[in-house]
Symmetry: C4
Subunit: 389 residues, 4 copies
């Protein structure tokens, strides 16, 4: 039975929980971190660590994506990002970071709010301008080939709107896993006078596994699974809270609901296991652990990786949605004001020399799993939970 | 069954929810923003967008009200505001904004609290002084005529106390919709030795539709509907939280309760649909969407519109109650310290170039409705809800 | 049925609510503020307004107490305060306010926290030193006589520890109502080897009505009522939250529980009505209204009155407990940094010219009661309540 | 019945509470502080006050530990801390405090966050470097002997990992009580290819009582009790919240659960009483009282003692976990920026001359117990509780 409250006469709302509402209860056994196996796989591709990088331009240069793969994770290129629109993506990203700033540095902590907001508006306009440039299919293919040539697994994100046009391009260029990813996705997009994407038919026509989302509820997740998705993304990567659009379900509840759909679909199909990738509210090892504890097989994350020296944003971070032409969401944050820029390897596997839990993400996860008494992510999905008052 | 707690032995309180407690759950379908129809109507008047501007002097010059109408919304003139007391309302408003400030600028973000409060007290006194001037019926008629001449729908607000005196004046001058609006209104105002306003008789005697409120509960809303109101306002437009008077019901609950009264009254009358207008806790597109999701047909809002270049306050905002002669509530805020002043058209319909969700209010609403799978406000009132911990 | 949760295996806790958790629901009628009667009485003494001033030295000079009475409220002298220990209480209070400050001014808003705390420690030491001086019975009698000569009702506070010694002194000097008030009081104080105060016998031996507290629960309140108290104080006046001692019940619950004891005792005695005075969490008109709505007949308050020009603290406020010799609680706050010093008459009855709800406390209360549809405090104790999420 | 919520379909979480969620309800009797007996005992050792100092290097020099004992509490040396690795521990600690600071002072309140974090990273690195030095058994024995020679009870902490190696060393050197303490401990540590510590056998082989933890749940606590522990530690001393690892149960719930295990084990064994020591969320007298009220026999605490002049950190505080080589948690805080450095005797027993409740910890506890009507900690474990909204 779900837990509902009546918010007003005849109008109910379901109680929902965030990852930060959750704590993990150690079991009667403890384990050693060294014995923890965090690996997972999609189709024939196996990954040592359950971390997928968000396809924002602030991270996803080919160099960054290659390093993610080398570290055992999965990096995702954005087929519709700056890197597919500007030959010199580095210069373009530098323009974003420097927009509106007298000396190229916006100290997010010590700038008056009004000035900070004015600078952010300029930055947003710069991002919008960069995204107004046309997509260059050759350039995109070149970026993908660069990753393919490195030997790591090649994952590319397209939007639902452009999936039909871009999927052939990116697969031909070498994409091995296709992400069809938007803020909110459904198996049935209805558009007056338009031709909806028949997701089932489309996925069936592709030769590569598809991971798609974001979704927030059991029913939509079931539809996407039945459409043939190899993985379903829960959430939309929102971390900054601007603006509070009020759409979506808090992550702990959303992940658990989609994991329930995975169980049901597994039973329905007699064994087809669709992976659940959580994308939102992930800031630290503890959040990664909480997401898995709620039922995720892996997590997609962005900002925690932005301190890596390999990240395209060179110390800045923004969500993909920050470049939306009419309704941008999320400002450009300068993460290196508070975090030290260090190699991605150290961000992921440590050792850490800061007390804030923002580095050694995988080491922290291993430690939490071990302390709670688990050595693999699948059984860790059953760890005891508490929620606060 | 309502959800009650016992706060102490023998004393119960109902659990109530704010709009910010609510999130919207996407359904299994998504739609296109372009297919969303946000129109609504009162009587014979149809509006493209479900936004009504609050009748504060900080917004409601005739010019602003005309532009609200041109953009598809509804602007409301305040028959008892500065514009009906001072021939040069512009100068008067300038005096409010500049009161107590050495150089006419009060940076609400970087001024020490003590100085800020002293300046606010001076501003409040200036507002009170401006409102102590007598109402000028000719001037009021002139303002109304200015709006009428523009061709947009003419809506004017009077207080319950002055409704009998002012309604003939404003209707004669051209008001097409009458707002009888106070902080808290009832169908039965009891005054010792006084002559109460018989709202039913009064509304029945008028030739224009009446929208009245604020109300907070089912029973009072039913009484107002039975008095013949075409629309009922839920809430009192409070945004700033000064002072926490503790009167009123959190908006998500209040809206849902009044929407239940609408359903009951519709059934009772065999088809008379009274519109529910939510006025409070509205800061962004997400809040507009949440208010409609709880049952509102339209929302009244103020501060989000104050960044419009057409707004009378020229970058400042205050609630109507800020001018109360004995018990003022709400300070004068300088919104242009944080928000860029832009044309009302852009505030309402974008495009936005800031990441805070304060512009493109209607675009944001369309996007939310579409992402949740709805194309009209009436069916959107049934979208799934969650409440946080 | 009370509302309990199990915090751990076999350990329960009752859910409890603060005044700030509560909102008041308007009823289907509204009233006029002018028709509201806020009077109440203790024994033969009637008061126009339900406000009693806290017996802190920061307020309670004879001059302040006399003005409270003239304004229709009840001021309480502290028989154990600075005014009973120092002939020149004004100089003593000035020493408190100036302690540790280079120029006698501590801007609580713009001083670095470390410096602020050092200054507070010096202030606390000064308070402790002033309270180390012996009580002077003649001086105390003189202070009481000053109030008596003014013609207002004379109320004096003694601690439970010193009640037996001081009660004869203060009653002989003219006290008409005796407050026996401590942080936590019971009808049965057990002390090893000591002689406990038999409250019932003691109250029975006095010729004046006794108001006593603080209490937090039904059972203790019943005991105090059966001891013959004319009034029971709920709470201990704590406003600042330093330190979070964790003793006591949140006020909305505590008031409602003690009001339930009042009803039970009224029934048990066939008509003896003991007054409930709420002392805690009161900052504004809204808080006064909420306390009455929960069941209080009157409220005791301190800090909101400290902006009065008649207040002894001359712009500063501290709780009585701030002078405790071994365990002081509550720092000295400079209220005039944020609030304008104005006559007590205006603090209580307005008009207000500030938007923060800190002045016109009684006007605000009348307004709230009228908007909710009530004209007397007794029936207002039944107003509908909501609690937030 | 536990109180569970469904966070998502098929996934439950137990509701859990923090100490700060709890308030204590006075009973119908009050007592005198002077009559309160706060003593407790472990085995043959009796302590006047129920406070145990956390074995962080920021506190636990031999001098500090001796003074804890003289004041009636229990100080714990860390067998794996700086004092067992560096002959001049004072100089080493001074290096921690001064690391990364231009002038040796880091004002935690007035330093920009970015600079503050950079300094903290340098401090963390210094701590890690100091802990990379090898353990010196002779030096350790010397430290222990210094405490033993003072005549106070000698308690020493070892980690579960090094217990087998270090226990003989520390017991031979004079340890009378052994703390086997880690962040999370279990009776059954499973390590692939390793040789787990059989806690039951190990404890049985020792001649001194063992106190072990941290634990968070009933089952693990039962296992530790059955292993022969004389005391069980609940929690891991976390106070700073960096990073939010999400492991562990909020303290009020965890303490109550472990106290339930104590009752069950007492029944199972026909009388063996295992002491429950709470280690976490303890900042003030009120927190100590709340921990005991939830079922603790004593509390372990750290930061509140760091203002003592005898504390090794000389005005700074850090948790033991702050020195972890790969995953440090908790920064170095400068407590003397806000708190006055005073003798430990005054920190524990007052008198206090500051209004923040950070001194006179035991006096505050006595006062709270007396006000609530209790004179010993065992019966105080039954005091009435409330939890806030």
């Amino acid at each position: 039975m779900r837990d509902y409250v009546e918010i007003g006469i005849g109008r109910e709302a379901r109680k929902a929980y965030r990852l930060s509402d959750i704590s993990l209860v150690p079991s009667r056994r403890t384990r050693s971190s060294g014995d923890v196996d965090t690996s997972w796989h999609i189709d024939a591709y196996t990954f040592d660590i359950p971390l997928v990088s968000h396809p924002t331009d602030a991270l996803a240069s080919p160099e960054f994506v290659i390093e993610m793969g080398r570290q055992g994770g999965l990096g995702v290129l954005n087929a519709e990002g700056i890197l597919a629109r500007h030959a010199s993506a580095e210069d373009a990203v530098a323009r974003v970071v420097g927009a509106g700033l007298s000396d190229g540095v916006l100290d997010t902590l010590n700038t008056p709010l009004a000035e900070f907001r004015r600078a952010n508006r300029d930055t947003t306009k710069e991002l919008q301008a960069l995204h107004a440039a046309p997509l260059d299919h050759d350039l995109l293919a070149e970026r993908i080939a660069q990753v393919r040539d490195s030997g790591v697994t090649v994952a590319v994100r397209v939007s639902p709107q452009n999936a039909r046009e871009l999927a052939p391009v990116v697969i031909k260029a070498g994409a091995e896993i296709l992400f069809i990813q938007g803020t909110v996705i459904s198996a049935e997009h209805v558009q007056r006078g338009g031709e909806p994407l028949d997701l089932k038919e489309f996925i069936g026509s592709l030769e590569v596994p598809v991971i798609t989302g974001g979704v927030y509820d059991y029913t939509t997740a079931m539809h996407l699974m039945r459409s043939g998705a190899a993985g379903v993304i829960v959430g939309s990567g929102a971390v900054s809270g601007y603006p509070s659009v009020g759409v979506g379900v808090p992550m702990a509840t959303a992940i658990a609901d989609v994991a329930a759909a995975r169980r049901e679909y597994l039973d329905e199909t007699g064994g087809r296991y669709v992976h659940v990738v959580a994308d939102g509210e992930i800031h630290s090892s503890g959040d990664v652990a909480a997401a898995i504890a709620c039922g995720a097989d892996a997590v997609m994350l962005g900002r925690p990786l932005a301190q890596a020296t390999e990240a395209a944003g060179r110390g800045s971070y923004w969500e993909s949605a920050a470049a939306h032409p009419r309704y941008p969401r999320g400002s450009v944050e300068q993460v290196d004001v508070v975090a030290e820029r260090i190699p991605l390897q150290q961000v992921l596997n440590g050792p850490a020399s800061e007390p804030y839990g923002s580095t050694n993400l995988v080491g922290g996860l291993r430690r939490i799993m071990a302390k709670c008494g688990y050595t693999d992510t699948k059984s860790f999905q059953k760890v005891g939970l508490t929620v606060g008052r």
